[in-house]
């Protein structure tokens, strides 16, 4: 059995799955139920001056009948006092000493205010601090959250203030609502952060009610932009985690966040350099019980691959994330249809013909189905047919041995004439 226990920037937890700072970590009761279900850690719902919330706070993007592919919220930080939150943290830590409890903090940008909240948080027994520099809605209008995270100098400065007072590890939570997230990560590092967590939610309007013309979630006929999360944002988060992990100036632990619903998602974050992951939307959808398969699936995967621990995964794919100019222009694949598996739906044909490179032939069959075949000399190996095919393993991309050496764009651009054959789209 692989070892799932985790040590992140000095914070221990039985497994690398933490609940992200959000409604599922609003109270001690919730966090304790989550730990009973099997969660390794919890980042408390952000603590600061209690706020007032609006009614109607979440809205979702449903795709093809699947609910909550994306979730948006305009809820603010905790609406409970720091006293209550810290008292409950103390209680939770007393009952669950081996689990990670991280206090997420957000206060106005004053040195003394930050010093004070850091001391109170650590006094409660929290294992570490997460600085919420990412919340994109509401709080940012008051100069907090993303308003800090979007300006690297502010990020650095406030991290420094926190580090002046902190004795426990400090994690800076980054906003994705920025041109290049590595600048924010570098600023956190410069300010002394022990780790970063990313991504926070993305500015969004999920939709408009076509009957009353109000954006969602509707508050008396109006709405404001909210923070977008859930499965839809995972690809964006993966890219940002990889960029931060590869950045030579950052090189501190990363807690990955963004659309993680399954152990597979988590494994991808680990492979791109995260060493813990945080989950919110999937729990808001299905409850704490999803931790069972998150742990079980990951454990089985590690065993099958012969990995002793999660650490064996961390960053393993980073070397495979390169610039486009470093990709081999002579690598060639073409599509192949397994006619035994083909159900004759014709989707590959219409996708290729209208949406890609006109490399599939088709003709109606007597039984009403559509026969398809690959025009191998036309196929550019784009994958589209294999993506639309509804039958697993029916269309596969087969490698073609060209006998040619690896040639990257860098090589080609230096001497285009030497590789003139590459100018033929079907080389």
């Amino acid at each position: 059995m692989a070892d799932l226990s985790s040590k992140f920037a000095g914070i221990s937890s039985p497994n690398p799955y933490w609940l992200a700072s959000a409604p599922p970590t609003n109270t001690g009761d919730q966090v304790m139920r989550a730990f009973d279900a099997g969660w390794g850690g919890a980042v408390w719902k952000t603590i600061g001056d209690p706020i007032v919330n609006v009614s109607s706070r979440y809205s979702s993007v449903d795709i093809g009948g699947v609910r909550m592919m994306g979730l948006n919220n305009i809820e603010l930080i905790t609406d409970r006092t720091p006293e209550i939150n810290f008292r409950e943290i103390t209680e939770v830590k007393k009952r669950y000493p081996k689990h990670a409890v991280i206090a997420s903090l957000m206060v106005e940008s004053k040195r003394e205010t930050w010093h004070e909240i850091v001391k109170r948080a650590e006094g409660s027994g929290a294992d570490g601090l997460e600085l919420n520099f990412g919340c994109p809605h509401g709080m940012s209008e008051r100069g907090m959250g993303a308003a800090v995270g979007q300006v690297p100098e502010y990020t650095c400065k406030i991290t420094e203030w926190v580090k002046e007072a902190a004795r426990t590890p400090v994690i800076v939570k980054l906003t994705p609502n920025i041109g290049d997230i590595t600048y924010a990560a570098r600023a956190a590092k410069k300010g002394g952060a022990d780790a970063v967590s990313l991504i926070n939610t993305i500015n969004s309007i999920t939709g408009i009610d076509l009957d009353n013309f109000s954006p969602r979630p509707m508050v008396a006929g109006r709405s404001s932009h909210g923070g977008y999360c859930g499965p839809a944002v995972k690809p964006i988060a993966l890219n940002m985690v990889a960029s931060v992990a590869k950045d030579s100036e950052v090189q501190i632990p990363i807690s990955g966040i963004g659309g993680i619903s399954t152990w597979r998602d988590a494994a991808e974050f680990f492979l791109l350099g995260a060493s813990t992951v945080q989950v919110c939307t999937a729990v808001m959808h299905y409850g704490y019980r999803i931790i069972e398969d998150l742990v079980d699936g990951l454990s089985n995967y590690l065993d099958e691959k012969g990995f002793a621990s999660v650490n064996d995964l961390v960053g393993r794919s980073l070397g495979n994330v390169t610039k486009w100019e470093e990709l081999d222009l002579n690598y060639k694949i073409i599509a192949s249809v397994d006619q035994q598996k083909c159900i004759g739906c014709g989707l590959c044909y219409v996708a290729c013909n209208d949406g890609a490179h006109q490399s599939i032939g088709a003709k109606p069959r007597a039984d009403g189905r559509t026969d398809v075949w690959i025009l191998e000399d036309q196929c550019v190996g784009c994958n589209l047919c294999s993506l639309v095919c509804p039958v697993s393993g029916c269309i596969t991309m087969k490698k073609v041995e060209t006998g040619r050496p690896t040639v990257t764009w860098k090589d080609f651009s230096k001497d285009p004439d030497k590789f003139a054959y590459l100018k033929d789209p079907h080389h």
């Binding site: 093809g64 009948g65 159900i343 004759g344 739906c345 989707l347 088709a362 039984d367 189905r369």
Partner: protein, 447 residues
Amino acid sequence: MDRFQEIKPALAGDEALSEANRCLMCFDAPCTRACPTHIDVPGFIKKIGTGNLRGSARTILEANILGASCARVCPTEVLCEGACVLNDLHHKPIKIGQLQRHSTDWLMARGGDSLAKLFPPPQKRVDAARVAIIGGGPAGLACAAELARLGHLPVVLEAAQRPGGLNTVGVADYKMSSAFALQEIEWVRQLGVEVKTGVTVGKDVSIADLERDFAAIFVGVGLGKVGALGIPGEDLDGVLDALDLIAELKTDRAAAQKRVLGKRVIVIGGGNTAIDAVTQSARLGAREVHLVYRRGRAEMPAYHHEQELAQHDGCRFVLDSAPTAVNGSAGHVESLALTRMRAQGGQEGRSAALEPVPGSYSEIPCDLVLKASGQVAHSALLSSLPGVKLVRNRPVVDEHGQTSNPRYFAGGDCVSGGKEVVNAVAEGKRAARSIDGWLRSQTKGAA
């Protein structure tokens, strides 16, 4: 529990949505090609998925004006759903019929004029022609609706007191009620279709009258009574045309119940009407139901899924057996005498010549014999149509639905010998377009 409750009930809104989302949206979709009216099935299903039910209904009804009843009575198992690629992938095709019903019901619930409002009003044509439609069943109604949409003036002449033909009186009640069929016809009338009921051509109005008053004539008279068995005792009390029982059930259920409840019923025939007679008898409370067919199970014209329905209702199949006499006393049926049948000298299939097996006599006691061994043509009417060539009492039509007399067009069961509602609709619609083309060519010729 209502034993006549629909076997394919309406889908709930969310059910329709999740079913619509299962559709792969095949290119050149097999379901569309399998439909005689070529409804753009993936097109109407995707519109359900986007909440565009009006557009969905229009996609259906553009192709098939009786799309609402076809959604209920079509043998989708062997047509669109039988062709669905998901049979291969998930062993469960999209519920196309029920989705079609979802959209057409939605529109129908929006009022009697909702169908007429769905389409742009027909152009006022100077060459608008009066066209007589003999027969108010699915073929005639589809022909009339298409003619009306093309701007012509169709008049449907229906011999019965209520229009709709088999749609109204011949469909098993758990598929579609008479009331629904009539409601749909009201819907179609609003397109500009005039329907005259209780008008028998050849009696109330002559062929000469029609030729005088109408520019073209569509013949969609369907089929008549079930043919005579040609065996002794056929006229005994308790021997009935299966279609008459179904019609009675649909118009006066109490009377049908009284006739069947607690009785031993034998249905003679192997087609879908025979199956309807079996399942309806079982639901009316028959004590036992036998189905007698002169060939084997594989040769039965009834669809496999229909045969299963009959079996599910506890029907006993008496195969390779033909009735030789109806026995009775005091004028009433008591039993059916049977002989075993076999194919002559190595012949196979549905057209093999049969011969009785010597010494194979048997008898099944019964109270009611329902004949469902095939309807016969309205040969008197058909043979009175001037210059319309008939083969085996069926008008011969070309690929446009035109008969050998160019003013006469025909379609539906009277031409095909008995097919589905959807085939009749396709043929009626095709004939309407041909009539319009032929009328144009006549006008041009005169000019």
